[in-house]
Symmetry: C2
Subunit: 209 residues, 2 copies
């Protein structure tokens, strides 16, 4: 075989995988995180055997679908927000991107969570960027001085929790982000009680927790 | 039978029921919402047959246990907060009572939720009081003017979500209540995006949603 003909099937396989990941996100969004893999294969236009060859079980598929969503929706925002000269605006951009992802792919997050396929590196680049932006916003006096890094996942958990109270694909979460941002302003700050130790929760679909 | 001897077994039965409800709350808090009913009967010092005679299934028991917690921890706070001449302080007191209940009986809430035994009247008195206090605080200029009643269950959902990020029986949630209250202050208020329609979520353990 020539190099070219050997490359073609690999490219086809990659395209199939991408299509299956995208179909999984769509089907889960429409039908919930328990939708059948057969339906996902049908939507992707592949046989169920092809799906299982690429993704041996739901845990692998859910993680791949989540990784696709993160690569498309969050990774660019991480880079963009870190480059923003206004760290508070950068922080806002990044949180908005994360919530857009969570709103749009809420059931993919839930599927990945319940399949046990969310590992720390899923949200590590996001939290590293968020922590860095919060520190810079803090130093610039744009954020209340008593915020600590452990507050950030809790703020994300609070915002994600609002998604279950609305059409998840609406942008109704923006109202609660605005409320939280008002609470984070230095002008509003009254003394906060101390932050207790962060422990990872066990609920499906939290943004990262 | 005399009236007296007829009353005694009924009083015993009521005491047994109360003991079982309290044991359920304790066992769920310690072992999670999937703890065995046998363990609850053991903790209450009754046989499993007695438990099933009073509470034919887990849904009934979880609801009764939740009702007991509400009667003990929330109903008094509803009355007290409505009588407070300072409606913002009343609102704070009431939210604190609800979060103390959720923190302490988080798994009882989760058990009741997953058994499908939470009905609208469970949290109706709480929300009626909260809405009334918010309106009065609003009129007194103690709360941002653009808050709407549909925001209240979302604020509760946000605060409840923090419980899954900490030892639930800690009072670490107080830090996030303080953050939210700072965001609710008229001084902090920037214009909020509109509130989208409230829909009831399907996740276990939310405070009321």
């Amino acid at each position: 075989v020539t190099a070219d003909s050997a490359r073609r099937p690999r490219a086809d396989a990659a395209r199939n995988s991408e299509r299956i990941q995208r179909a999984a996100r769509q089907v889960w969004a429409e039908q919930g995180p328990d939708a059948l893999l057969e339906e996902i294969a049908r939507r992707a236009g592949v046989g169920i055997a092809t799906l299982y060859r690429r993704f041996p079980d739901k845990a692998v598929l859910a993680r791949a679908a989540l990784d696709q969503s993160i690569a498309e929706n969050l990774t660019p925002a991480v880079k963009q927000s870190l480059a923003d000269p206004d760290p508070f605006r950068g922080l806002t951009t990044l949180v908005e991107a994360a919530l857009e992802l969570a709103a749009h792919d809420l059931n993919t997050l839930a599927a990945a969570r319940s399949a046990g396929s969310i590992t720390p590196e899923v949200d590590q680049p996001f939290y590293e960027a968020l922590t860095q932006l919060a520190r810079r916003a803090n130093e610039a006096g744009l954020l209340r001085a008593d915020l600590v890094p452990d507050d950030l996942p809790r703020i994300m958990a609070m915002l994600t929790a609002t998604l279950w109270t609305m059409d998840p694909d609406s942008d109704g979460w923006r109202r609660y982000l605005a409320l939280i941002l008002d609470g984070l302003a230095p002008a509003a700050a009254r003394t906060l009680p101390p932050a207790v130790a962060l422990s990872k929760g066990s609920r499906p679909g939290e943004w990262l927790l």
